[in-house]
């Protein structure tokens, strides 16, 4: 038995108990969370924007996507999104030619930088979209990433 694991479990429980006591989490629903199934089943960029609550989105130079031009391994493609739009509330990453367009959607509370990096899977060469919700409106940037070996097949 790894004693550190015990400690992590204990402190983890403590934090949750504190959160419950503070009324942030009500017991029973502490970790039941919303997942936008409809958005994750969409098959196009336009559909995804709609499923995330936007009518349409405008292209913006205030959003920067940092990712390789060519990804040798489609299973692990690093993607960073940086938004300079005031009041950025959410950042989503969409991959146009994947079986499901939406990869991830991050909610950015006040005090958190409008910036996020993760790694995504790409089945083939595709446009990658960063969709930013700022002050209730939707904006996007796009970058093509060429994939040498697809990362979704089996």
């Amino acid at each position: 038995m790894d004693p550190r694991r015990r400690e992590v479990l204990k402190t983890g429980g403590g934090v949750l108990a504190l959160a419950a006591a503070a009324g942030i989490l009500r017991p029973g629903e502490s970790l039941a969370q919303e997942w936008n199934k409809a958005a994750f089943e969409t098959k196009s960029v336009a559909e995804t924007v709609k499923a995330l609550g936007g009518g349409a989105s405008t292209e913006s130079k205030e959003i920067q996507i940092t990712a390789p031009d060519i990804a040798e391994n489609g299973a692990v493609v690093p993607v960073s999104v940086d938004s300079r739009l005031a009041r950025t509330q959410a950042i989503a990453i969409m991959i146009e030619k994947n079986p499901n367009t939406l990869s991830a959607n991050f909610e950015i509370p006040d005090g958190t930088d409008p910036f996020v990096t993760t790694r995504v899977k790409m089945g083939e060469t595709s446009n990658v979209y960063a969709l930013v919700k700022a002050d209730g409106k939707y904006y996007h940037a796009v970058k093509e990433i060429k994939v040498t070996i697809g990362g979704c097949g089996g």
Binding site: W35, N36, P109, D113, K121, G154
Partner: protein, 105 residues
């Protein structure tokens, strides 16, 4: 139960820079095994990061986030010695929470 996350939280100026590496297969549900049977989807759907009782990042993920997901972001308001807690929840209802102490800049 899944392996612990690897978390680094460091002060950079007045912000906390957080890097997380989670241990999860992130199976898409689209692959087949050697005998041609579909491998069921198994992936993280929700990620929540909290500091001092406040959510500093929350995310919903689909199947196309890479295996052993990586996450990097930064927030204001943290101090060295304070804790950052990260919880993920997957489509099978498995969940895991890990914590890290914010290191000085």
């Amino acid at each position: 139960m899944a392996d612990p996350m690897r978390i680094r939280a460091n002060m950079v100026g007045d912000k906390v820079e957080v890097r997380v590496l989670m241990s999860h297969e992130m199976e898409t549900g689209l692959r087949k095994d050697a005998s041609g049977n579909a491998i069921p989807a198994h992936f993280i759907r929700n990620v929540t990061v909290t500091h001092a009782g406040k959510t500093v990042l929350s995310a919903q993920w689909g199947t196309s986030v890479s295996r052993n997901p990586f996450l990097h972001f930064r927030f204001k308001g943290g101090r060295p010695g304070e804790r950052v807690a990260i919880t993920w929840l997957d489509n099978k209802g498995e969940k895991r929470t890990d914590e890290a102490v914010i290191a000085g800049g």
